[in-house]
Symmetry: C2
Subunit: 329 residues, 2 copies
Amino acid sequence: MTAPLSRTAIADLARGVREGDRRSLARAITVVESSNDRDLPVKSELLDELLHTGRPTIRIGISGTPGVGKSTLIERLGMVLIANGKRVAVLAVDPTSARTGGSILGDKTRMPQLAVHPDAYVRPSAAGFGLGGITAATASAVQVCEAAGYDIVLVETVGVGQSETAVSEVTDLFLLLHSPGGGDELQGIKRGVMELADRVCVTKADGDLLPAATLAQAELRSALHLMRPKPGREMTPVGMCSAATGDGVEELIDGLLAQHHTLSASSELATLRRSQSQLQFRRALDAGLLRRSEGLTREATERARTELEHGRTSPVSAAWSVLNSLPQV
Amino acid sequence: MTAPLSRTAIADLARGVREGDRRSLARAITVVESSNDRDLPVKSELLDELLHTGRPTIRIGISGTPGVGKSTLIERLGMVLIANGKRVAVLAVDPTSARTGGSILGDKTRMPQLAVHPDAYVRPSAAGFGLGGITAATASAVQVCEAAGYDIVLVETVGVGQSETAVSEVTDLFLLLHSPGGGDELQGIKRGVMELADRVCVTKADGDLLPAATLAQAELRSALHLMRPKPGREMTPVGMCSAATGDGVEELIDGLLAQHHTLSASSELATLRRSQSQLQFRRALDAGLLRRSEGLTREATERARTELEHGRTSPVSAAWSVLNSLPQV
């Protein structure tokens, strides 16, 4: 953003979003994902204008290594959900896009049917993230989509870096997709990611790959058996499906919706979302406070880092030397 | 601490530590583990006085669920290491001790031989942790022990909370102990802890428990086979031993020392310790900066949390409202 928006312009933008205008929606997401601190006041005002959708919503994170068939499956899932009367938004979180200048996710050509469907909205990843990082930016984008009337938000991420954790922190359920290969391929799952999953699904379970998919399903089940389930949860279900034939897709959707229904029927969903909000608040606030002190501490921090690097001080003393250099408040 | 120490008193204390005086050592650890911010200047000066031991040292983290036999095995390990000419310090990190007012670890009666041996030093957990949390406090205590002439520091922690991560961040190698039981018991391993391990050892592998221990070893191996090893590392070795008969204890020590030798022969150990120092510095500095702003932000934060709790604002807007309430710097 180059110029700050006036109060009226923000209210207009919010109205556009609520009325389902796609250009307003796109613009609003750009605003809330802005990594420029100067956009914070506008971002905050816009987000506050877009509170209270008043409808129940479903937030599902979807991850899997490149090549697992995420977009093909999401296209299928989305079309089935739309056929069931839902409006579906797909957000892509790609932590690599800031580096590459482009996004390997959320490319609309990869979801040709959803991309043009009036009841769907597909949004590629932002190129940068503001205060509170990926988590805060994505949580804000989810909020905007819900305000625009989407019942289900699918947040897609690629299996690199910390993005899976970030996505699991802004969604109600986390679906991990896995290729139809076991053994060595199982070892390719990033540390900790399997533990985030509320459901695992083996993709491409059709034709020649069906035996491999069945084997992968069995191996994933035994791997998950060795992990403690999330507190109060059943063991993570492992299914398989084919986006090409559609086999297993209905079961996958039914499974996810049933899990979500269990969450929302108890107070668990409300509790989860409240604690996610508080966590996002704390993260964004801490990031803001630290960024605020950056200018004041930059030189002292550089000096301390050098002393530490040369073994001339200990970590705690180095921290104290920086704190001690600050004006007393 | 009640009264701040003078420069001379700090220098005297440091000299006492370096000369191997046990009372000075105990006092110095109390100083560096202090959770009182007012002790920071003294803590920093003492730590800077105790830099450069000039000898190679070995830092090993040891964890396992309650009942796995940590202290019995550590007693054995310690006595064997002492027989090999080493001086051994045992630090216990017990995050529960702050709540219970006592420590379930590091109780000297649990390591009767080590506790009284002139070449060993056993130190129960601190009851509180200062700036930078458990990690910074433990890193500082390790530094003091090394300055006091201990070649090997074993950092023991119980399998609860975040303490395993903290311990792995201040040690060169992390040893995970496991009971001689597989199947359901394997599920009891806390999420993520197995991934921290550089070596796993099944305990109590003797008598009637030997078959169960052998089974647990096999199951742990297959569980670890499903995880990606740390970058550049071999698959995590899984052994078994008995503290009662001594079987496998020499192999465990040889394995750990060989792994450590590989680390230190390459530049990996130096790199690891440097990055640990920088991380501890950053954590302690961030904690200090945030604590410094606590007084200024307390009221605004409380208000923001309440607004958030009632759904009257979004996380990012709530953070902005607090930041905006601060005086400009």
